[in-house]
Symmetry: C2
Subunit: 347 residues, 2 copies
């Protein structure tokens, strides 16, 4: 059963294709009578305009691309949900690609989306991405790009972020206020801006509060899909290296939960022996035992905001208006739970 075309409607009604097209789009210069006839027939025949032809004429696909490091991920899946929800409201569809934290894959995917002529791209960078030519090239070829969460400061485009540095500062300060005297940090990989910023926030909270910064207390976790195991391993290593650590600020909840599990296995009690603050507020963190103190990161809202910025840019471009890039910073908040509830807590 072949799809219905304008031509068929035109022939059936014995009028021109032009008039059919105009009638369906409610052009003012078509008689009411003709419009009614056309619309009714289109309805009965279940006519749908051929988007391929429409795309070719209008040069837009009403589709955007999304490149995300990992789909099976509480935070990112919330972002995806936010993007899809907002896009649907505006009549846009979303193509999702997963970069697996790989720079090479990310590059290919940018290229792929570009050649599919999506109207714009939303991206959260892979951990492996240290070069940004692929992104600058993309924009030079007139494809709007908005970055979120894992961004590159150096790339000139719109961004949606949280203040990682401030949030990490708050988390570390919370450990200090809970009475911790020697605080370690499980950080993310070296490249991503957010793991750098979280590290810096940790460091500053220490020095601002009269603690010495000790690099041997900083452990690097890859934050790949092995996060949980990395948390376990770093915890094990920490116990071997230091017997005096009584607090850890950890880059991500999943890593923190790995650490928690290892501590429990080794009979280290959390929070009494070691207090822990994670980052991101995964759902899981509220149901494990002890429940995990963490920083709440608004994934759904970040997704919605990122799409909104992209949409504005797409619209401005179409109307030939000047485009100004914008960086939106979303609020985070500290969630205090059992993993930092110590008796000798400062009030």
């Amino acid at each position: 059963m072949k799809p219905v075309t304008l031509k068929q409607i035109a022939e059936t009604l014995d009028i021109s294709i032009t008039t059919v097209s105009k009638a369906l789009k409610d052009y003012p210069d078509v008689s009411k009578k003709t419009k009614k006839l056309v619309k009714e027939l289109a309805e009965t025949l279940n006519y749908k305009p051929n988007v391929f032809a429409v795309n070719l004429r209008t040069k837009e696909s009403k589709t955007i691309g999304l490149i995300i490091p990992e789909v099976v991920h509480h935070f990112f899946s919330n972002v995806i949900k936010g993007i899809i929800a907002q896009a649907e409201k505006k009549g846009y569809l979303v193509i999702i690609l997963q970069s697996n934290e790989s720079y090479e894959l990310e590059k290919k995917q940018i290229d792929l989306l570009f050649s599919k002529r999506v109207d714009g791209i939303l991206i959260s960078l892979a951990n492996g991405t240290g070069d940004f030519k692929h992104l600058n090239d993309l924009m030079a070829q007139d494809t709007p790009l908005v970055m979120f969460d894992k961004i590159a400061k150096i790339v000139n485009c719109s961004k949606v972020i949280i203040n990682d540095r401030k949030a990490a500062y708050t988390a570390t300060k919370h450990l200090i206020d809970s009475g911790c005297k020697r605080i370690a940090h499980f950080r993310g990989p070296l490249l991503p801006q957010n793991s750098i910023d979280r590290f810096l926030g940790y460091k500053q909270a220490l020095t601002d509060n009269g603690f010495a910064y000790d690099p041997s207390l900083v452990y690097i976790c890859d934050c790949s899909d092995q996060s949980f195991d990395e948390g376990k391993n770093s915890a094990k290593q920490l116990l071997e290296d230091h017997d005096d650590v009584d607090g850890i600020f950890i880059n991500t909840d999943l890593v923190a939960i790995g650490a928690l599990t290892e501590f429990q296995k080794q009979g280290i009690s959390v929070p009494e022996d070691i207090a822990i603050v994670g980052f991101s507020n995964w759902f899981m963190s509220s149901v494990i035992s002890p429940t995990l103190s963490t920083i709440d990161q608004p994934g759904f809202k970040m997704g919605k905001t990122a799409f909104k910025l992209l949409y504005k840019e797409i619209k401005s471009r179409k109307e030939n208006l000047p485009i100004k890039f914008k960086t939106v910073e979303l609020e985070t908040k500290l969630i205090e739970r059992e993993s930092t509830r110590r008796f000798h807590q400062k009030v």
Copy 2:
């Protein structure tokens, strides 16, 4: 900067558009010399064929649609990952839509994807879907459809499933083997096939093993994004209604974890007082305390398999081969953890 077209290459080289097109596609009837010239120029100019035009000519978009009830969901996000991975291998892109368990939304989304002329659709039905006209209409209009996980038996198309009934039987039998004497069931909503099948498996395990089936022990949970709270509420209700239940088979891990949390709050000990088996093997279930026994459901593999079936169908259609629908059943397995590890366990 306007995208490069065949015409520009043709004019630059002073040959015809036809020849340029053929050269790029390695047609045998173009001279090597011409091919080389064309390809080199295309490379330098970073020529990408206009997919809109290609789609219009070839009548395919190399894009498929995916409708899924919920993105923020351990099982479904694994399915998504599997689908995207497999699709990318075959050069297909995936548009993702979330039905929010709503029949109305699902219908609209089927329509939307159809009007976008995706090459095929993958779907896991919404809980609210009890009528299948939208799906049959879609197929009648020549769009391949493959269902996975939440399927409708009555719809004639390819499917990827697990044997929910058998898995539920195994789970319930495991409770019996663990020494439970009175076993409740928190089931999913009434419509979806998998919650029906899991219920039937539960029931059959009871009767096969000399237990009386007692409808008052079956509680219905919506399994929406409120699953966790529903688990808590059903657990609360169960404690009010029955003081002799010592085992529960629960439709989904997230609901099970809600129940677990409520029991802990009320001082009911799991597994000693009440043993629990969940379903799906969410990551979370392996790290909460007590760890949750459950049925492992292969999400990633299900996604891959679903795409493979769809791909075959798309190919067969293109080659005008006959299409035979296929139902693939994937293996599940029981994961025994602390929530069923009782002392008076049968060996």
